[in-house]
Amino acid sequence: MSELTQYAILLGLTFGTVGLVLSIYALARAIGRARAEPAKDVPATAGTLARDPVWVRYHAKYYGYALLFLAFDMEMAFMYPWAVVYREEGLVALLDMGVFLAILFLGLLYGWSQGALRRQ
């Protein structure tokens, strides 16, 4: 299987999934329709209706983590290729990545010491 075929299969899978969902919806609709009744569509808010849309600010208390996460997530982009060739390269690779991870870990520790890992 060539790479392109593989991705074509994955794309097909995606469309198939969407199709599956649509057919489930069609099935459900075939069974019966919703009756229009007042106040049925109120979101679950203990019965009272919010005046504004709820899409207002949500305090992401974890943004300190989020910033750290970005750094660490990026690091993975470097680590996957490294991991694959790790055994070929041997000790040098371990040292290289050791330095890299040590610095990264230092960053984590620093963030920790500055309160980034605290509930904000």
Binding site: T17, V21, D41, P43, A83, Y86, L94, F105
Partner: protein, 299 residues
């Protein structure tokens, strides 16, 4: 051919997991329960909440299902029995799972309801906690296999399963996987009692059915990924490969479900704190240990 078989296996697996879950939740083993509740869901009327973000509301469940199916696509059931044997299978799995977050946030945001939205945002926090613990153990696995292909990863465990080779990674991965699939005790987005269903709160009828189905697929995907990465995949004596994979997957799923029902729910802040302060440290240590072992022992 293999695609159909895998999808069939997936369907069976989902049903089995559903049975297991209801057993874990209700304490009674009932083989028909999932079927009846699915039918009930389909028969129930679908309510569209007022003033929703229609696009997000509709696409959330679909995307979730797509994410789950795409992750399954790179899991080998047996040698050759795999939808797409990508050279970067493990990475692809990662990428597919990242959409779980997107889907859940969309599902939480879409209906314009407070509980759903809080559930979605909470999952973002949860994601930040588990994401690194998914990828870092996989790195260690890839180091041993010298490849990101899931087939190669299974083959690399011929001499010794990774669960023994890198137990720290295994534990971390399982915990993180439970986070991805928002299994108790880290089921923050749906949040059982305190959020009235969280992201599921506004979904009804067929949409809820799709949402639940997607989650089952994700549980199966993660359990089978655990098997692939740590429990030797199809490797095993006497029985055919696909049976081993299926058995191991069900066992892992059962284990995860059982574990969850015994523990009190974790607050998001606590989960974050644990995974960053303890989890990341352990994951780095795991990588380092695997690195040293890989240099010393040629297996």
């Amino acid at each position: 051919m293999s695609i159909a078989m895998i999808l069939l296996a997936l369907a069976v697996g989902c049903y089995a997991v559903a049975v297991l879950e209801s057993w874990a939740v209700h304490g009674r083993l009932s083989l028909t329960r999932p079927a009846t509740s699915a039918l009930a869901l389909l028969g129930r009327e679908q309510i569209m909440p007022r003033t929703p973000d229609r696009l997000f509301f509709e696409s959330g469940p679909v995307l979730l299902l797509v994410a789950g199916l795409l992750s399954v696509a790179v899991i080998p059931l047996a040698p050759g029995l795999i939808i797409t044997d990508l050279a970067i299978g493990a990475l692809f799995l990662n990428a597919a799972l990242a959409y779980v977050l997107v889907a859940l946030i969309m599902a939480g945001w879409g209906p314009n309801g407070a509980y759903g939205m809080i559930g979605g945002w909470r999952f973002l926090g949860q994601f930040i906690a588990y994401a690194m613990l998914i990828v870092m153990p996989i790195t260690a696995v890839a180091m041993r296999a010298e490849s990101l292909s899931t087939t190669q990863i299974v083959l690399s465990q011929a001499a010794l399963w990774n669960v023994a080779y890198q137990p720290i990674g295994f534990v971390l991965f399982v915990i993180a996987a439970m986070g991805v699939a928002w299994l108790p005790p880290i089921d923050l987005p749906t949040g059982g009692g305190d959020l009235a269903g969280g992201v599921e709160a506004e979904y009804t009828g067929a949409r809820l059915a799709v949402l639940r189905l997607a989650r089952l697929v994700i549980i199966v995907a993660l359990a089978s990924a655990t098997v692939t990465f740590y429990l030797g995949g199809w490797l095993g004596p006497w029985l055919p490969g696909w049976v081993w994979t299926a058995l191991k997957t069900l066992a892992v799923a059962a284990g995860m479900l059982a574990l969850g029902s015994r523990l009190p729910r974790l607050r998001e802040a606590k989960y974050l704190e644990l995974s960053w302060k303890l989890g990341i440290t352990l994951a780095l240590a795991n990588i380092f240990l695997v690195g040293v072992i890989a240099l010393v022992v040629p297996i």
